[in-house]
Assembly symmetry: C2
Homo-oligomer: 364 residues x 2
C-alpha cells in the first residue's frame, strides 16, 4: 500500500504552534515505527483569507477531498471580526465539514486523572469520566435553507432553518451505536421533541435504527435542556450521547469544560468510506484559536496531538499506536509537566508548548 497522505491545516492563532509539535510526533512515528505519512501543509481560516481572500481556497478544498486524513489546528481571531459573514474564518472549516460530508463528529469528554482537580466540578463528579459525544455535523441549523437576513415590511429578519432528513439522522445514529458497542453499550439521544417537530422525527428515527439494527444497545432519550442539566449534575451516567449539530455544539462544549481538560480534548469528524475503505476524516482539537496567547509558547499542544492519535485509530487502523501515543501523553502529565493552562495551586513543572511536544516525543 502506498504511503498514506495527511493534509495539515494549522489555521490561525495557536493553530500553527500546536501543529509544529504534532509534526514532531508524526516524524517520530515515521522514523521509529515505520509509519510514514506523506504530509502536505496548506491554509485555512483567517490565514487563507489573508493569502487568497477566502477562508478556504478551491485548491485546498480539493486537496482535502483527496487526502487520506486532514488534521486541522484552529480558526478565527478578532482581526477577522469585521469580515462579511461569508468570508469569516469559520466558513472555511464549515466548508470542509460540508463538502467532505463529515456527518459524525466524535468528541470524547474525558477527565485526565492528573487534572481532575482542575475542573470547576467536584472531584468525585468528574474523576474517571469518559463519555463520547457524537454530534451530527453536516446538517441542521448550521446549513439549512432558507437562511440569511431579509427585509420584511419595514424591518429586517434573521432566518436559519433546522432541517433533518430521515437518512441524515439514521446514519449518525448508526455511528453512535457502533461506538457504543465498543464502549459501555449505552446511547442517550438528545433533542427537543417536546417543542420541535425536527426533534420528533429525530427521536423516532433513532429509535427505529436501534430496534431494527442495534436492539442490544441500551437506548434512552432526553430533552436537550435536561441533558445539559444532567451533564452538569452527574455526567458519569452517560456513555455515548448522540445529538444534532447545534445542540451538539453547546452540549459538547459544556461536557468538555466539565472535565477540566479542555486543552487536552481532541475530536474526529468522519464521513462515508472512500474507495480505499478509509472514512473521509478531519481531526481537530476541541479548543479554539486562543488569539490572546498565540505566539507566546503558552499553548497546550496535547489536544492536537491526541487528535493525531484519533487519526491513527480511526483513519489508519493503528489502534495500538494510538494507545502508545495516548500513554505517552499520560506519562508526561503524571510526571507533572504542565503548560500554562494546566498550572494549578498544587504545582507541577511549567513547560512551554515546544517543551511539552519534546517531552511527549521522549516518552514515546
Amino acid at each position: 500500500m502506498s504511503t498514506p497522505s495527511l493534509l495539515i491545516l494549522p489555521g490561525d492563532g495557536i493553530g500553527p504552534e500546536v501543529m509544529t509539535e504534532v509534526r514532531k510526533i508524526i516524524d517520530w512515528f515515521g522514523a521509529k515505527r515505520d509509519l510514514a505519512f506523506d504530509v502536505t501543509e496548506d491554509l485555512v481560516g483567517g490565514a487563507a483569507y489573508d493569502a487568497h481572500g477566502a477562508p478556504l481556497s478551491d485548491e485546498t478544498m480539493e486537496k482535502a477531498q483527496q487526502a487520506d486524513a486532514v488534521l486541522l489546528g484552529a480558526v478565527g481571531g478578532p482581526k477577522y471580526d469585521v469580515l462579511d459573514f461569508s468570508l469569516k474564518p469559520e466558513r472555511g472549516l464549515l466548508r470542509l465539514r460540508k463538502e467532505m460530508d463529515l456527518y459524525a463528529n466524535l468528541r470524547p469528554a474525558q477527565c485526565f486523572d492528573a487534572l481532575a482537580d482542575f475542573s470547576s466540578l467536584k472531584r468525585d463528579v468528574v474523576a474517571g469520566l469518559d463519555i463520547m459525544i457524537v454530534r451530527e455535523l453536516t446538517s441542521g441549523s448550521y446549513f439549512g435553507e432558507p437562511r440569511g437576513i431579509f427585509t420584511e415590511g419595514n424591518e429586517r429578519v434573521g432566518i436559519n432553518t433546522q432541517r433533518y432528513t430521515e437518512s441524515e439522522i439514521a446514519r449518525v445514529a448508526r455511528s453512535a451505536f457502533e461506538l457504543a458497542k465498543r464502549r459501555g453499550n449505552k446511547v442517550c439521544s438528545m433533542e427537543k421533541a417536546n417543542v420541535m417537530e425536527s426533534g420528533v422525527l429525530w427521536r423516532e428515527v433513532v429509535q427505529k435504527v436501534h430496534d431494527e439494527e442495534y436492539p442490544d444497545v441500551e437506548l434512552s432519550h432526553m430533552y436537550a435542556d435536561a441533558g445539559g442539566m444532567q451533564l452538569c449534575r452527574w455526567p458519569k451516567q452517560f456513555d455515548v450521547i448522540v445529538t444534532d449539530n447545534l445542540f451538539g455544539d453547546l452540549l459538547s462544549d459544556v461536557a468538555a469544560m466539565l472535565t477540566g481538560s479542555l486543552g487536552m480534548l481532541p475530536s474526529a469528524s468522519l464521513g462515508a468510506p472512500m474507495a480505499n475503505g478509509r472514512p473521509k476524516a478531519l481531526y481537530e482539537p476541541v479548543h479554539g484559536s486562543a488569539p490572546d496567547i498565540a505566539g507566546q509558547g503558552k499553548a497546550n499542544p496535547i489536544a492536537c496531538i491526541l487528535s493525531f492519535a484519533m487519526a491513527l485509530r480511526y483513519s489508519f487502523d493503528e489502534g495500538a499506536e494510538a494507545d502508545r501515543l495516548e500513554k505517552a501523553v499520560e506519562s508526561v502529565l503524571a510526571d507533572g509537566k504542565r503548560t500554562a493552562d494546566l498550572m494549578q495551586a498544587e504545582g507541577g513543572t511549567p513547560v512551554s508548548t515546544s517543551e511539552m511536544g519534546d517531552a511527549i516525543v521522549a516518552a514515546l
Copy 2:
C-alpha cells in the same frame, strides 16, 4: 383600585401539590398584609387534556388574557407521551407564552448559601452566585414557520425555523438592559453569530439598542457554546445574560443546575404593559412536573413560592413584600428544614411539601 386577579394553573405532576402551599402564602398575605387577590384556578397541560381534550382550552386562554397575573405549576408526564405533538401538555404552556406575548423570560440563577454544598460544582465557584438569564420566549425556533414533518422524495424531513425580527430582538434586549441597571450593570448577549445569520442580526440589534439607549451598561457578546463553557467554569463573571428562546432553554437549565438550587428557582415571563400599567405576566418554577415523585409529599414548593414572590415584585409593585417572602424562605432554610431533594450527607431536618409550606408561613 379593585382587588387584583390571579389565575392559578397547577398543571400536572407535582404542580398541584406545590400550588397548595403557594395558596397558604397567598392567604397569609391577604389576612396579614391586607394584600388580597381574587384567585381563580383552572387547568393546563395533561390535566386540561384529560378534561377537555386539549392542553389549554379557549376559555382558560381568555381568563389568562384577563388576569393581572398567572401562576403556573408544571406540565407534562409520561402518560401523555403517546399524544400527538399538537395535544402534548407542553403545547398548553407554549400557547400561553405565545398568545400573551410574554417575550421576556426572567430566570434568576441564584445559589442559596444554605445549599452551596449541594451543587456538583466546587463551593467557591457557586457560593453567592446571583445571575439573571433573560431568555426571549415568543419567537425563534420554538415558533418559526415553516415547521413540521414533510415528505421529500422518498423520505421524511423534520423542519423548524429560527426566525427573529429586529423589533423582537430589540424589545428583549431592552428588558435585559433595564434589569442590569438595577443589578450589576452588565449584560452579556449570547448567540452563534459565527455560524447563523439570525445570530448576526441578534448581535447587531443588541449592540444598537445598547449604543442608542443604554450606553452606560457594560455590554459583551459571546458565542453560545463558549457561554455554556463559561457558565460551567466561572459563572460569577456574569450579571445579566440575554439570549434567544432555544439557547435560553439550554443555558438557563445549565445555570439552574449549577447553583445546586434547582428546586428553589422561580421564573417570570413578562410581556407588554396592559391598560392598567401592569405587564402581562406568567410566573412558574424552573423545575418540571417530576411525575416520579408526584403525590408523595416529597416535592419542594419553594420554587413555586418564590415565583409568587416574583409576581409580587414585577406585577404588583410590592418589592418590599417580595423581600419579606424571600427572607422567610431563607430563614427556613437556615433553620435546616429540607424537603427530600435538598437532603444531604450533612443532614438537616427532613420535612414534607406541606410542612415546608407551613414553616414558611410561620416564618412570615
